[in-house]
């Protein structure tokens, strides 16, 4: 049913994201996985989350990524050609990190198994936007403002960093 459909979609898409050598495909697959997630949000009676998932993530952030990919136009990431001589830069850490990731998965599964079986969602969902908005602008008003400041800072920083120097490539 829908949950498993969306779940499978999300997992497969994500796997393909990191299995791709071509960043453009990665971005698109990630968008797919986001779509699946927003579907899951819908199933969780969180239409607002679903909507902004699409609007903000898929509609804005991912477009940004796609932009950068196209701008730099490096479709295929360089292969093992430039493995560094430095021991720490050999594929070792990658494998180690991957192993760690798997270990993390195992631990999370363990934790869930310890928490015992959980019931299906019984209590009434909160779908009304007004409720969310109300909480957001009363209890979390301060955090909201801080976030806005954060975004402003990020914007300035991004503009500053992406600005081309007078003579590009001069700093080597």
């Amino acid at each position: 049913m829908l949950f498993y459909f969306f779940g499978a979609l999300a997992v497969i898409a994500s796997l393909l994201v990191i299995a791709q050598r071509n960043p453009v495909y990665s971005v698109l697959l990630l968008i797919t996985s986001f779509g699946a997630l927003s579907g899951l949000y819908v199933l969780l009676d969180a239409p607002f989350a679903a909507a902004i998932q699409i609007i903000v993530y898929a509609g804005a952030i991912m477009v940004l990524f796609l932009f950068v990919v196209m701008l730099l136009n490096t479709p295929h990431e360089d292969t093992d050609a430039d493995e560094k001589t430095h021991p720490m830069l050999r594929p070792g850490p990658m494998r180690f990190g991957a192993a760690m990731a798997v270990a993390l998965l195992g631990e999370l599964a363990w934790a869930l198994s310890r928490s015992g079986p959980s019931s299906t969602f019984s209590n009434t969902p909160v779908t009304s936007l007004s409720a969310i908005g109300y909480t957001l602008f009363t209890d979390y008003a301060f955090q909201f403002e801080v976030t806005s400041v954060l975004i402003l800072v990020a914007m300035v920083g991004a503009v500053l960093m992406a600005r081309r120097e007078d003579q590009p490539g001069e700093k080597r």
Partner: protein, 348 residues
């Protein structure tokens, strides 16, 4: 959340409506093509298509046939998957957006149904957001088309259009927010019904275009930019980049972009109607005939589109951008604030 009443006849009717809407949208594209050329001709003191059928009425069919029988070309360097995917995305987004747009009150189809059936494909309590989301998806079709066809014209066109769409999405959303404040809901149906009140003593005349004219203006302009129509048609600026993002496309895949463009126009017009022009409400017209009113209003807006395209010159790209960021966005933000203040003050 899909408010579908589980009843066979209703299900059938619902599906029927969906099918009708889908069909009508395609027809509308054809009609739009015809009228585009006719209006263009009238504005240029010409006759326009008049050979195929009576007054060239069959011209769109001829066009479609031509498209269908053209050869499907794909550049060797193009990325096959994305090249194929791009037009589909565009078309899908265009069609999907209309799904949550109500286009009339409820009808019993002359007593065929036991209960009134609301005229829409699907009603979502966050319909506005859904429309917004889907239109924002539309950009991918363009971007991918431009990138996958691996041609500089296409890429430039794609980058331009996506940048343009993202920039104008902001003011688009802001103008929309003002309406949400007025209607105090995100469901398009609620919004429409919120405009059925009386204004200046005239019933069913409480349209937001009167309450919030600036919002309407902003929304309309942003909508034009969203649909990449003249004078903001940079993605396909013939004089600069052959045909923009669909330079490399031919035959039916090109037709899909073509389709998507016109359906987008229809969708935006429909949304504008719902948001500002009182939807299917018109003084003195019963709700049962609302869909006719709705059709009429959409047509008026669409005529505006054509009118502008053939009378206004294209902007320069930097002008477009600075206009979007330095005029539209501040104006729309101000509009939201002012509207909210007014709502609080007058208790509208």
């Amino acid at each position: 959340m899909f408010s579908v009443i589980s009843n066979n006849s209703f299900v059938i009717a619902q599906v029927g409506i969906a099918a009708v809407v889908w069909f009508l949208l395609q027809i509308s594209a054809a009609v739009m093509v015809y009228f585009e050329r006719k209006v263009c001709a009238w504005l240029q003191q010409r006759v326009g298509p008049n050979r195929v059928g009576k007054a060239g009425l069959l011209q769109p069919i001829a066009d479609v046939v031509k498209l269908l029988f053209k050869e499907e070309l794909r550049p060797a360097a193009a990325d096959p998957w994305l090249f194929a995917l791009a037009p589909i995305i565009s078309a899908t987004a265009a069609f999907a957006a209309f799904a949550v747009v109500p286009f009339g009150g409820s009808t019993t189809l002359f007593g065929l149904l036991s209960e009134p059936l609301p005229l829409h494909v699907a009603d979502v309590n966050v319909a506005v957001l859904v429309v917004f989301a889907i239109t924002s998806m539309g950009v991918y079709g363009i971007v991918l088309a431009g990138w996958s066809s691996n041609s500089k014209y296409s890429l430039l066109g794609a980058l331009r259009s996506s940048a343009q769409m993202i920039s104008y999405e902001l003011s688009y959303g802001m103008a929309l927010a003002a309406v949400l404040v007025l209607a105090n809901s995100m469901s398009l149906r609620d919004i429409v019904n919120a405009q059925s009140g009386s204004l200046l003593g005239i019933p069913q005349f409480r349209w937001f275009v009167f309450l919030n004219p600036l919002g309407f203006l902003l929304f309309f302009i942003a909508g034009i930019a969203e649909t990449n129509r003249a004078p903001f048609d940079f993605p396909e600026a013939e004089q600069e980049l052959v045909a923009g993002y669909h330079t490399e496309y031919s035959s039916m895949s090109f037709g899909m972009f073509f389709l998507a463009e016109y359906i987008n126009m229809v969708t935006v017009s429909a949304v504008t109607t719902d948001l500002f022009l009182g939807g299917w409400w018109f003084p003195g017209v019963p709700e049962s005939l609302g869909w006719l009113v709705f059709l009429f209003k959409i047509s008026v807006l669409l005529f505006f589109y054509l009118w502008m395209r053939w009378s206004l010159p294209r902007y320069r790209y930097d002008q477009l951008m600075s206009f979007g960021w330095k005029v539209m966005l501040p104006a729309s933000v101000l509009n939201v604030i002012a509207t909210a203040a007014a709502v609080l003050y007058f208790g509208l």
